[in-house]
């Protein structure tokens, strides 16, 4: 067990033990026994399974319908079909627009609310907090029908603003929760020092708290980006025109039409998944933090 503990200390920055890792011989500490080899193989198999859909998509996007059925040969023809049948550029722009606007709104009001819950005392604070955070428990389907009718009545269906507002509202409870948790971790003295210098409370929020909250804001942004980019239901209901569809909705509609070949759909899948994959590769750390912060507090 002593050897195992050293490995943990050397391998993971999160669990820093009393012994300092000696950098030179780190690799030598990975135990090579029969159990470890078996576990390693199990992990290789798991990784293969997890990567399978992505590999399947890429490989088959470079096939024609016939090549897909026979499994022999490659061609880029399906990519041409995709760009002909799906307004890929417009849909990517729509997705980007809706995502960006919704995320900016979420960041603005959830950080303000989080700061208020963590650092300011106001009347009915507890009730307001529960009202907002409690909405985490509400499934989208429980509200979507009245929501749709309400927004249709004020002409916000088939309007970017409608979809943006619904996405922003759905993301607000969790974002507010994360921001509250983050701001609770900031020392009160920082805010008080600012107040002594004559800064108002909103000023302390904007000039002291927000600049320190950049990691938390990034976490919220990454989490929401993945969620909104990948969403189908809201887009399907609130952006129905071919010209204002997001890429995920466009792809789903194309797929349910059953007229486009599988390889072209796979090419579309690659295109629609790529932005989220890039965000994942660069900001995985923030995504992990966002998912686990709920468990820590």
């Amino acid at each position: 067990m002593a050897a195992e503990r050293e490995r943990i200390v050397g391998g993971d920055s999160a669990s820093v033990g009393p012994q300092a890792p000696s950098a030179g011989s780190r690799r030598a500490r990975f135990r090579v026994d029969r159990v470890s080899v078996i576990l390693f193989i199990v992990m290789v198999v798991c990784s293969g399974v997890m990567l399978y859909p992505f590999g399947f998509m890429i490989v088959n996007s470079f096939r024609t319908e016939n090549q897909f059925l026979t499994g022999v040969g490659f061609s880029a023809a399906s990519w041409g079909v995709l760009f002909k049948d799906l307004p890929v550029g417009v849909e990517l722009l729509n997705s980007a627009l809706v995502c960006t606007a919704a995320i900016l709104l979420i960041l603005a009001w959830s950080s303000a609310a989080g700061f208020a819950f963590a650092k300011l005392k106001f009347r009915r604070q507890g009730v307001v907090f529960i009202a907002i955070i409690g909405c985490l428990m509400v499934p989208v389907q429980s509200i979507i029908i009245p929501e749709y009718v309400n927004l249709a009545n004020v002409h916000l269906v088939n309007n970017y603003l409608g979809a943006i507002l619904v996405y922003a509202a759905l993301g607000t409870p969790f974002a507010t929760f994360l921001m509250t948790v983050f701001f609770r971790g900031l020392p009160d003295e920082l805010i008080e020092a600012g107040l002594c210098d004559g800064v108002s409370y909103p000023g302390a929020f904007l000039r002291i708290a927000v600049p320190m909250a950049m990691p938390a804001l990034a976490t919220v942004a990454v989490l929401q980006f993945i969620q909104i980019w990948d969403d189908l239901l809201i887009g399907l209901l609130f952006l129905q025109e071919p010209t204002n569809r997001t890429i995920t909705v466009g792809l789903a509609v194309l797929s349910s039409g059953n007229v486009v070949s599988v390889p072209a759909l796979m090419a579309g899948s690659v295109v629609s998944a790529l932005p989220a994959v890039v965000v994942y590769l660069f900001f995985q750390r923030y995504l992990v933090r966002g998912l686990t912060m709920g468990a820590v507090r």
């Binding site: 391998g11 669990s15 798991c46 990784s47 399978y52 208020a116 005392k121 409870p173 629609s272």
Partner: protein
């Protein structure tokens, strides 16, 4: 809303030490006002777009709403729903989905336990296994359709194992299609739950393991007796996330994989809401199903909280 009324009420001022108190109450008042101002945008949005529609859903669930006009029917709409065999058929699918929740928690728990041993390349494995979390259900569903079809890899695998009689198009029959949806759901939950458990395990002090080792516990015993109890709140979180996903976020997957079919074979409550409202025009029924879904999920969380508290 409720908080708005509180803003105008002035804090109590006592007569003794008036100047200091007055100064402080001024600061308190400005802090209270700032708090309300900062929380107001979030509160208005959540109130208008999340809380208000719940109220509407409850009201309209007792009407014959078609999206434009509605007539009050009363709570008997719920009785009618509970007498509808189709409702129970759909609920059965939710039950089948719930059966896969333990798998969607235990498989990633196992993977996390292995990765926590920090074997060679574990960071790489962690990234790869977490990777599908970034990909939309639409895309995963589109691949899953091909995976479970005749001539797909599942059938090839079964053929290779000599199980030729199991070679079918799994999306063609109700229960096998539901099993396929279950399996795809488990696949997609592995990354998220693995990360949750890995985070939990990294918070456990290695010294505890050494103490367990001194007491004669092996790898498996240490995991069962040390790791598992210390991961309780992570189990709770993972359960909540998994149930929320299973009952409230599989719409896109079902839409792409099966469209709820064959028949009602893969129509879950969540998908039924959409079908009733937007295909059948029964907005009142849709709203009612949404309310039922909310109550069921809330009930599951209460049961879960009670069970885990009882273990203490």
């Amino acid at each position: 809303m409720a908080a708005g009324q509180g803003a105008s009420a002035s804090p109590p001022v006592t007569t003794s030490g008036r100047r200091r108190k007055h100064h402080r109450s001024g600061l308190e008042r400005s802090r209270s006002r700032a708090g309300l101002v900062l929380v107001l945008p979030a509160l208005v949005v959540v109130g208008a777009l999340l809380i208000y529609p719940i109220g509407e859903a409850v009201y309209y669930s007792m009407t014959n709403w078609d999206g434009i006009t509605s007539q009050w029917v009363g709570p008997s709409t719920y009785v009618t729903l509970f007498q509808n065999p189709l409702f129970w058929r759909v609920l059965q699918n939710n039950g089948l989905l719930l059966l896969s929740v333990p798998i969607a928690i235990l498989v990633p728990l196992g993977i996390a336990a292995i990765l926590h041993e920090h074997l060679w390349g574990w960071r790489f494995f962690r990234s790869v296994i977490f990777f599908p979390t970034a990909i939309s259900w639409v895309v995963i569903g589109m691949v899953a359709v091909r995976v479970f079809a005749t001539g797909g890899p599942i059938n090839a695998l079964l053929g290779g194992l000599g199980l030729k009689f199991l070679q079918i198009d799994y999306l063609e029959f109700p229960y096998s299609a539901m099993a396929a949806v279950d399996l795809t759901f488990v696949f997609s939950m592995v990354g998220t739950n693995m990360i949750i458990f890995l985070t939990g395990m990294s918070t456990i002090d290695p010294a505890i393991y050494e103490a367990a080792k001194l007491d004669g516990a092996g790898r498996v015993a240490a995991f069962r007796l040390v790791t598992m109890p210390l991961l309780k709140r992570y189990f709770q979180f993972s359960f909540v996330i998994t149930v929320i996903t299973a009952f409230g976020a599989l719409f896109s997957l079902i839409f792409i994989m099966t469209g709820g079919g064959p028949g009602y074979g893969t129509t879950t409550l969540e998908f039924f809401v959409y079908q009733q409202a937007f295909s059948e025009g029964l907005f009142g029924t849709g709203a009612m199903l949404g309310v039922v879904l909310f109550v069921i999920m809330f009930g599951l969380f209460l049961v879960q909280a009670r069970l885990l508290r009882g273990e203490n």
